[in-house]
Symmetry: C2
């Protein structure tokens, strides 16, 4: 999606350790009208798939997941990162290692909201090592849900997570795919 | 908003301690097309106000904040609940006591994304004791931003937070306002 690449070049900032800060439009502050366009692009990419539900993980996935769900007219479920008082015990659960925060956390979804009758499109903001999406795939497997694929706003191709997931036979689409990053430049694939 | 009241009666569950679980459409699982209608209702309520930005707090506020921002064609900023590696040190910060989780946490926003040129509409899913919204008002005050008001999906009127904030001179609108709740019934105001 060329408009997203242009926005990353114009507004993104690169920090040491392969961290791309896009807090001005994709994270923390969100350019909602633009993200609605990203949702339309995801809808176009997965047109014809019998998707019943969008699945993402809190909290940075919620906005982009919502935009995709709005474009497709579907419900969204987001996995929580820790057990809440408001959740029952009927939980699907998986462990995820966070590259950004260097910690392992659990992601959980109530089994009321993800079932064997669902066809899921996984959505997230970033795909780096792929750990979050692997965790979401595990939740789908526990639920017996089918997975139509995954769509992410930004894939850091050089960190290998996308290829790892594609090798599992899962379709992965990135609205922008970064091939390499240095202190003063970002290069996209294709 | 009568459709929201009907949905709460149909799909909500009441738990001991004044907890209303609406995880099937407002939290965890989100009825996105319906939430987009809630966004339109918020737009109607605040029509004519020179709002520049939607402000909410992760993670349960993000979806409804996004829906309001999409209806109004505005950017959204969400406060984070702990300092992230991806944030700079130029932070607006406030402390919030969570009634649900019985803990105090900090909420932070980069001062790049909330400034004295903003006119803010605060959005959240629930308004109970009002602590989260008071914290968001403090961030606006630190930034020198104007506040047009606050809109919440569900106000638990009997917990007093809404009245507390209205007494500060802040306009607060609830799409559904619960007057009382017991194990087997929910009663709305008006």
């Amino acid at each position: 999606m060329k408009e997203l690449e242009a926005k990353i070049l114009r507004e993104g900032e690169v920090f040491p350790g392969g961290i791309l800060k896009v807090g001005s439009f994709l994270n923390q502050q969100i350019d909602v009208p633009f993200m609605m366009e990203m949702g339309q692009e995801a809808k176009r990419l997965f047109a014809g798939e019998p998707i019943t539900k969008i699945l993402t993980v809190e909290s940075s996935g919620i906005a982009v997941g919502f935009a995709v769900a709005a474009a497709m007219g579907l419900p969204m479920v987001f996995a929580k990162k820790h057990k809440s008082l408001n959740l029952s015990d009927n939980l699907l659960r998986s462990s995820v290692f966070s590259f950004t925060h260097q910690t392992t956390y659990d992601i959980v979804v109530s089994n009321d909201y993800l079932t064997s009758s669902d066809v899921v499109l996984i959505v997230d903001d970033f795909l780096a090592k792929g750990n979050a999406i692997v965790g979401l795939l595990e939740l789908c497997e526990q639920a017996g849900a089918k997975v139509a694929g995954a769509v992410v706003a930004v894939e850091k191709g050089f960190q290998g997570g996308g290829d790892l997931i594609r090798e599992k036979g899962i379709r992965v689409e990135a609205l922008a795919r970064i091939e390499s990053m240095s202190d003063d430049s970002v290069t996209f694939s294709n």
